[in-house]
Symmetry: C2
């Protein structure tokens, strides 16, 4: 029964049966009327998820491709950008900008911490000549399990006037993001996170300011040319052949999200995140993230003394079929991660925590499994609308 697994990593996330079934529908002409209808319906659902009336372009690629699209469609080589880095994905965003010729200024915060908006505000205030063209920020940092206060960051950037490019790959649909209200210029997201879809599609929203910047942006782009994507979207097509299975899945996944209700979906993620953190505390486990900014999509947990992340992950996979993620970058030998976003419910969380407690017990650390599950249960049954 090796294939019977509970996939608790921050992407790919588990996919609902109706979505998987949708992914296996026969092919259609991507320049025909059926595709036009499919794309229209998906675009309506995406607009609701992004909370925007901006254009949202659908690309066949991973979230990294969407991040590249965000950068190369709004900037020129030599442009000064400020990259807010709190982990591996912030680092990746900065690497992309540098690769395509931007003059990158990094503002690094200790891994585990969130962006300090006051430091950002102070830096932008110094930039009286408005040399900084764009601020690049990660909404939810998957490597550390930290969520930035995007509303606050966006307000600071809007005050300055730079573009704000947001990596929302692991945040969108799992937590609130309001592209219009917060004035976000480019928001990059992907299918295999809270959208509850297989990997293969990514989404990029473009504000009017972003389109303005696009007219003079000279970074090299062809596959990721959003102007071309927009031109074809207006004809109800895509410039290149799209990943049809994921488009079918998106149509179905967006219906599931609508059925649950986006705000209920956020509340579910808050319950799941709180439950994992409460249970870890009850087991005496240390979390990597600053508790004030802990992510409701993914939790990075320090392997307790006498164990390694690898031991824990292997035992949980082999004995319980529970798949946890390894640490990224410099955290590889320090933390393991539980993804709790997308098609994940209360039962999945209880199962994962039970397996984790039992597994740790076998590896040495004394953990109180009953107390952990009690703590989780309390959070899972708390008023669903509770704000964190």
């Amino acid at each position: 029964m090796r294939e019977k697994q509970l996939l608790m990593i921050p992407g790919p996330t588990p996919v609902a049966q109706p979505v998987l079934r949708a992914c296996s529908k026969p092919m259609i002409n991507h320049r025909g009327p059926e595709f036009a209808e499919l794309q229209d319906e998906c675009n309506r659902g995406l607009a609701a998820a992004f909370k925007t009336t901006d254009d949202i372009l659908t690309l066949t690629c991973s979230g990294t491709g969407a991040m590249e699209a965000a950068v190369v469609n709004t900037l020129s080589p030599g442009d000064k950008v400020l990259c807010l880095v709190i982990g591996a994905f912030g680092d990746r965003f900065a690497q992309i900008a540098k690769t395509f010729g931007a003059q990158v200024e990094r503002m690094d915060f200790e891994w585990g911490q969130a962006v300090d908006e006051r430091k950002l505000a102070a830096r932008l205030k110094q930039d009286s000549a408005r040399e900084i063209k764009a601020v690049l920020v990660t909404h939810n940092e998957t490597s550390t399990g930290v969520t930035n206060d995007l509303a606050a960051i966006a307000a600071v950037v809007r005050e300055h006037g730079a573009l704000i490019l947001v990596d929302a790959v692991s945040s969108l649909v799992a937590m609130d993001l309001r592209a219009d209200e917060w004035g976000l210029d480019v928001v990059a997201a992907a299918s295999q996170k809270a959208f509850m879809l297989p990997p293969g599609l990514a989404f990029v929203s473009m504000s009017a300011r972003a389109w303005d910047a696009n007219t003079t942006a000279k970074m090299h782009r062809y596959y990721f040319d959003l102007q071309k994507a927009k031109e074809f979207m207006d004809k109800k097509q895509t410039p290149w052949t799209p990943a049809l299975p994921q488009m079918y899945g998106l149509q179905e996944g967006l219906r599931l999200i609508e059925e649950e209700g986006l705000e209920n979906c956020f509340a579910r993620h808050r319950r799941l995140g709180s439950a994992v953190r409460a249970a870890c505390a009850a087991m005496g486990l240390k979390l990597f993230a600053d508790p004030a900014h802990a992510s409701n999509a993914v939790t990075a947990i320090l392997a307790p003394e006498g164990t390694t992340p690898k031991q824990i992950r292997s035992l949980l996979l082999d004995k319980y079929g529970v798949v946890l993620a390894e640490g990224q970058g410099k955290l590889k030998d320090t933390v393991f991660r539980i993804g709790h976003l997308g098609y994940v419910n209360e039962t999945d969380i209880m199962t994962t925590l039970a397996a984790l407690g039992a597994g740790l017990h076998q590896l040495g650390p004394k953990v109180d499994l009953g107390a952990a599950l009690d703590a989780a249960h309390r959070e899972l049954t708390a008023t669903s609308g509770a704000q964190t």
Copy 2:
């Protein structure tokens, strides 16, 4: 019964049921042992299809992404490249090279014709200073239904010493391509053509010469960085989250190809191509391609006098559920196209030709449907190993 369709376009092509079912398997950890096995098996099958021992990198994108990867991983801005253009896809390859800063010299051949190797040889002979770094060529030009003699072109390029970058998106598996024997440096292919898979994956092979060029290639790349793809492939992973449904499908599709036998698969495509051409001749239809270089994957047909391609395509879709492709670029109002590659058999061809004949009859042109089907039948039942 609007959804009951026979998809006869040159991609996306029809997908076999076992492949569609494979696409709907549950997600797995793309950094775990199951993915390692999946990728290994796929790589063995791809090596057989490409007839190479070179590295083959699997990317999540369309064929156009693979073409971009071919260019940006082997060239630097300012490099001189010679683009052999016989249609819309050759034009696209040239556009990509230009976009990323290459100094593009085009050798255009009339649409409908193949590359004349003697002209290519003459041009390369003039280049005694070896300024031309790479020759970019389309194996099978989907817009015109013309197949280049890639073996002959490659021999000329090898004599000169430039890299040869091949767009094999609509040729691979439908017709013979021998990356090692012919000395092809980079071969770009995609999932939704003769591989009989949904769109979403692309494949790029890199010869030792191509990797050498890669060490000094300065064109901007991040998502399509093949060095990073290779580094992760060696760890049995991909740098970015891959399109898992299409990877599952690839595993199954490669098994189907192995079961049929690659050479039998080529022979089937030859039979299908011959049958379409013979039937068109019997119906008095003019083909766009030079008969000496007609493609066995796709046929471009001129709309007979008194009809438009749009009329023909609409009637066949609405009345018979047979989906044909429109003309591309400047051929939009002149031709329609029948795709006959991938998961297409003799019956599909007979059905398509019957619908086409009946449809034309309704639009005015007098066609002898019986003669057309007789002609097709003769070609379909001719000795399968016949070379074209």
